[in-house]
Amino acid sequence: MSSTIHKSSSFDSSYDVVVIGAGLGGLGAALNLALSQKSVLLLEQHNLPGGFASSFVRGRFEFEISLHEMCAVGPPEGPLKGPIRYVLHDESSVDVEFVPVPEAYHLILTGEEHKINVKLPFGVENFIDTVCSAVPETPRESLVKYFDLCRECSEALTFVARSKGKIDFKTLMVKYASFLTTSGYSVAEVTNKFRFPRKTLDLLYPYSCYMGLPASRLDFTIWASLLHLYITQGAYIPKGTSHQMCSAIDTRIRELGGQTEYNTKVKKILVEDRKVVGVETDDGEKIKAKYVITNCSPHLVYGKLISPASAVPVEAHKLNNSRRLGVSAFVVYMGLDASPKDLNLESYGYFISPHMDTEKINKSMLQYENMPDLTASICLNNAIPDCSPPGTTILSITTAFGIDVWKNITPETYFATKNKFARQMIEQVSKALDSPISEHIEEIEVATPQTFSRYTGSFKGGVYGYDLDPWDSLVIRSQVKNKEEFFKGLEFAGGFAAMGHGYNSSLLSGRQAARSVLWKMKKEGG
């Protein structure tokens, strides 16, 4: 028997907006457009929403693929409530519940120079108290000033983001003077002025690992904002894993009249006269749209998707090549048949390394003889106790590799390399926590840059967007955005967009792209 269902079209002939990719950026964009009653089609090549914000099941465990913790969520009410809650709950009524993460991070340094085992709490005062008691030589007043500066930068960044390209410099000068004097510097350049002892920096820097750059290269403003938001608002994770959050957004988009289609790969973004006119799927269906928001990297968009390819100006390729691709990740996921207590896992998130020298850590991510120095582990049960059956534990250990490191791995050496790093990482964590992990492994999976490439289609298996050097900072990106639009009607969302990578940035960047499209439609009287 033969069905005709595969022969007709799945889509309308045209939409107001087509969104390519159902990662957090694409979901955020489609959600806002559906909310604004625009006809929107969200296309995703995988059979699930979320991109990196997803989960997988092995045996009796469901693993978070990439989430450690979300920033900018904050408590449900009050002045610390964050934009993610505003966008998902208040603005869009998405059925997602957030659970607080119990502590900022548990830092264990095992090297001779600075051996330490300390749990850093949320709340600026608590955080400073803990740092000062763990490293008594810390100049308390300076640390208080440092956090003040971070607050100022964070608030200034929000101010700049809200000013939509037309920055009110007068207000900036008056209210955020220190933001202006630190903008454009690296974390190291600004932080060194505070003359903190090395040991104090060790306790302060772990979150910078989430940005994938050493202190000498990471833009200070973004770092200051991240540190401030985490420590004041706390960190949160969605109940039921990121997949549940993304399914909730997908469901809400459909409720609002948007269309979401999976297993549908976009092969081409069709352009005419430097204007977007639609997309073409990999089985040749053409869909018209004047606006396309893409969750893919500019590398992929300008390098592969724009059709005809000759329409891509050389300036676009040059711009891509001038920027630096962020790191990729390596994750060991384990379902353990012992309770967190029996495994000595008392905290939710651990940073473990022989040292906290971010330059050395980054260097260690560029080789593949041994595992990189630093791992970030998450014991999910310590935020959501019933995320796995009683008497079991979900533990993941993550490290990062430079984007090009895994190109040296061949299929022949792949399985052995993967297990070698995984074993070293398990040993590092077991030893640091005195935890009998390897005796209790019921399920184990290891994700490499290749795995991330396979499931998300990300360029070179990268898990982040472009590096946030001071010359490619959020502030600069927001200022130059208009000059870097090579095609009318094309917007970027997700980790490669102006707001940078990470769960909250990606999601909010989608909303920002949608707002930008809506504004342009309005201007055109559409």
Binding site: I5, S178, T181, Q244, K265, N321, Y414, I426, P449, K460
Partner: protein, 409 residues
């Protein structure tokens, strides 16, 4: 706050903006599209590729081994590698009915590197309409469409102990043949004892081959054949694989990991036996056995539904079609019968490739193989391969047009 002095500080942001422009101006104009990581991925698993049958061997009266190489027009340089124990999802088109079946690879991973082949060993099931078709119609030179390799029943030295006890039934010997060859060629450093259950002596697949390999490496490989209905001449153990037999041939339970692969009936029988051995969960790996032969045998299935048929309204994007579905067949099978293609690989509730949205209606979900994510349960998604209609349904399935199904002629 001053970093290097106010005037320098205030100029820093513009300096960085100029820096960005300078880098842009000086960058290479050549599009950077090389993706070595994606290339690596192609050497490990693929959504869809074509193989050609180069050789067929009759292993028993009811079993054949097909040797498969890259199809002549393939873009691939080499077959994707795999770990001994993994399977290929075979995609075939029988008169417009497009179906997928998972078959464990019976050859060794090292054969991919050497002569460049996989082998699939397929046994005719009494009720398996597909295996019968394949058996008759797959010839040397036939082109076969597959995806993979997939699957989680492989030896992982991070988790498993290096003494493995294999329990196999029927065609469930195929992954163990792969593992045994890998041990024999010293690619895997394991001790493996396989207890292999067959019905009759002449059903034993690879009897001679495996006993020869075991004979060469008696410290590493042991294969114990067990027949449930042997002839009078049979001198080996008989009956089903019991806890007693496992202890007798595999020795003490401690220090070993158990791999199980066989038909559904074997799992059901083994469940109690395994329980009595007190093997911790982490020491048992079970291969999936596909859809149950008869869902009405599931104790939770309500038999009053067994003769019912329902309508399923199927949506793919804007497209709608209504099909008939039997309450005793999985939604996936009903879709396939109607000529509607939905992606599927494991057909056992686990891999999630057939994940679809239940818009309305009631389904029975076989909870023994319900591998759904929590979020899918909450928001009405289901796996058609492990779900059965209990009313008329409206469902939305993901589009699936890009995979080739090789016609059986």
């Amino acid at each position: 706050m001053e970093v290097y002095g106010r005037s320098k500080d205030m100029a820093q942001a513009s300096k960085m903006q100029r820096e960005r422009k300078k880098r842009w101006k000086n960058a290479s104009p050549v599009p950077d599209v090389e993706d070595p990581i994606k290339e690596l991925s192609k050497g490990l698993h693929l959504k869809n590729f074509q193989l050609i049958i180069t050789d067929i061997k009759e292993v028993t009266k009811t079993t054949k081994t097909y040797r498969l190489k890259l199809a002549p027009d393939s873009e691939l340089k080499r077959l994707p590698l795999f770990r001994a124990g993994q399977y290929l999802s075979v995609k075939v088109n029988i008169d417009g009915v497009k179906v997928t079946r998972p078959y464990s690879i019976s050859s060794a991973p090292s054969d991919v590197l050497g002569d460049g082949f996989y082998e699939l060993t397929i046994k005719i099931k009494d009720d398996g309409f597909l295996s019968l078709e394949l058996f008759e119609k797959w010839k040397t030179g036939s082109i076969i469409s597959v995806s993979g390799p997939h699957g989680n029943m492989y030896f992982d030295d991070l988790r498993d102990l290096n003494e493995i006890v294999g329990i196999a039934g029927g065609s469930g010997i195929t992954p163990f043949r792969s593992i045994i060859h890998e041990i024999a060629t010293q690619k895997l450093d394991l001790k493996l004892t396989v207890l292999y259950g067959s019905r009759y002596e002449d059903d034993i697949i690879f009897a001679e081959e495996l006993s020869n390999l075991a004979g060469k490496l008696p410290d590493k490989i042991k294969v114990v054949n067990i027949c449930s209905e042997p002839s009078e001449n049979w001198s080996g153990p008989s009956g089903f694989i019991t806890a007693e037999l496992i202890k007798k041939y595999a020795g003490p339970i401690e220090g070993k990991t158990f791999f199980i692969c066989g038909p559904q009936a074997m799992y059901e029988f083994l469940e109690k036996e395994i329980q009595s051995l007190n093997i911790p969960n982490r020491r048992i790996r079970r291969e999936l056995y596909g859809q149950p032969d008869n869902i009405t045998m599931n104790p939770k299935y309500l038999v009053e539904f067994k003769d019912k048929t329902f309508n399923i309204t199927v949506r793919i994007g804007n497209k709608i079609e209504t099909i008939k579905a039997s309450a005793t067949e999985s939604v996936l099978v009903s879709l396939e019968r109607a000529g509607i293609v939905v992606d599927s690989q494991c057909r056992s509730g686990e891999c999630g490739f057939c994940r679809s949205l239940l818009i309305s209606g009631n389904i029975f979900i076989n909870d023994e193989i319900d591998g759904r994510r929590a979020g899918d349960k909450k928001f009405g998604f289901f796996h058609p391969c492990s779900s059965y209609p209990l009313s008329d349904l409206e469902i939305k399935i993901p589009s699936f047009k890009f995979v080739k199904f090789s016609p059986i002629k």
